[in-house]
Symmetry: C2
Subunit: 301 residues, 2 copies
């Protein structure tokens, strides 16, 4: 087995690490033609450099590389409009969470006081129909569900003014850990809402207290987690996208403070600012819990 300290050990003898053609990678990058879009040339050139550096660093063998190719091909074959296994493979190695951080620092600046972002995940639906404020998004009530009155005010992050007409998409899984498109026993659009803030910036709805659940574990991403001796669980969370034509769409998740897996989310999405408290509520016959979640949005530059 090869070592990473610049030597190889074969039958107990230490050999110098093989020297690979020092010009190979730059020749591959230089093959890019003059008419390539400069951003494409930059991104793919950097990807080639880093993937080649990785292969040389670990002395990657043909068999190991081919295992990776097979994993990627099987991820694609398993993906469809209800499942994105390629995305999930990236998620379990933290890549979606990293590009989420990068993108948002690019968009709004590193120190902007907007609500923090978190990854989209593979279960958002673009076609969720509109929901009236203070309606319930629970269409299929599970026996062990705890109804939560979730509400808040959406404000401009710079001026603190309440914002009218902001669209808020909210989605969550049921207490069995499945989103409605994964579960034939849930009604279509169960636990999905698309609200609009009123003139006071208010939005409100009835949803479930979220539960931890495993990411899909029967494909290449699940295999990779097993190979890495890691569990597939995510802490209890609710997904949110908030924005309008004037405000940068904010994609985020909020996490239940009392949930397991806050410290070891399988897709690395938790941020301290996004951990919230579900509190018992009195005098609301429709809900046993309340979650107050104000949101601050950055104006589109």
């Amino acid at each position: 087995m090869s070592q990473t300290n610049g030597t190889n050990s074969v039958n107990g003898a230490t050999l110098p690490k093989p020297q690979y053609d020092p010009d190979f990678t730059s020749n591959v990058i230089k093959a890019t033609g003059p008419k390539a879009n400069p951003r494409v040339a930059q991104v793919v050139g950097s990807l080639i450099q880093h993937l080649h550096d990785f292969a040389r660093e670990v002395d990657l063998t043909v068999d190991e590389w081919m295992m990776g190719v097979n994993m990627i091909n099987r991820a694609g074959q398993m993906s469809n409009e209800r499942r994105n296994e390629g995305q999930l493979l990236c998620d379990v190695i933290g890549l979606e969470s990293l590009v989420d951080e990068i993108t948002n620092k690019q968009l709004v600046g590193a120190d902007y006081e907007a609500t923090k972002t978190a990854i989209l995940g593979p279960f958002f639906r673009h076609d969720t129909p509109p929901t009236k404020n203070d309606a319930s998004i629970i269409k299929t009530m599970p026996q062990d569900g705890e109804v939560t009155y979730m509400h808040g005010i959406v404000r401009d992050a710079a001026t603190n003014e309440p914002l009218n007409g902001i669209t808020i998409d909210i989605w969550q899984c049921s207490t069995n850990g499945l989103y409605e498109q994964q579960d034939p026993d849930q009604a279509e659009f169960n636990l999905r809402g698309k609200l609009t803030t009123d003139e006071n910036g208010y939005y409100g709805l009835y949803c479930l207290r979220p539960v931890p659940y495993p990411v899909p574990y029967d494909g290449p991403a699940g295999e990779l987690l097993q190979l890495l001796d890691r569990h597939p669980y995510r802490p209890a969370h609710i997904h949110i996208i908030a924005g309008s034509d004037k405000y940068t769409p904010l994609t985020t998740q909020i996490f239940d403070k009392s949930s397991k897996y806050l410290e070891d989310d399988s897709v690395f999405a938790v941020k301290d600012d996004l951990v919230v408290d579900f509190v018992p509520v009195q005098g609301n016959e429709k809900a046993s819990l309340e979650l107050t979640l104000d949101i601050k949005l950055a104006k589109i530059a």
Copy 2:
């Protein structure tokens, strides 16, 4: 558009490059559990580090990353037993050629005088039936085919002794640039042979002079080549695998010295030592060309 020199230019103003969470990547790598196989932990840990470094270096956005995910998913969806688009994506960025170099330097040592290797490519078939020496592997003769008598002696790279009983798989495409499994007009196993050297180390067969051809251009690998302003052509070549239970299997290709694309092979497989001469032959009524190709194999340690 972001720059790579540590600053971002927005509307002409130069902003400091955003600082990303310095602990994120090490936390992702540290999530690997204690029961993971050490080699898996090493390979995947290095891959995570390099992919994250790449994303930060180019300030990769969510949209750009998602384009990559879609490309990978489509590659898998297009792959089947006759086509490996995930492998082809790696090939056009030089990754298969690099892991081929790495693997062979690991196996036989950097300075060993065995015949040089080249990538397997996606068109090998394990089930090619045996061929007798001096038979033809042309089952479907194209009108513009030039028959070549290809032959040589296989030797031990250390002792120079001729080797009896070495299996030699040979495959090539027809003059239309298609391998038999890509082309319903070619007979099954057309232009594929599996020979065995005799007691003098001799092998010989009749095949076609190879032609340049484009790698499949209708999937993600073709898209990537177009995005990079690159052509899809490979120089004229013949694939070879030679080995036995005592000799490290050698996977290689030989390239016609007179072919186009020797300098800009779309999959970066050409090595100077593998460029050979097809010469006119007199007095052989079955062939107009001759290719002499001796092969040196390294003994399994």
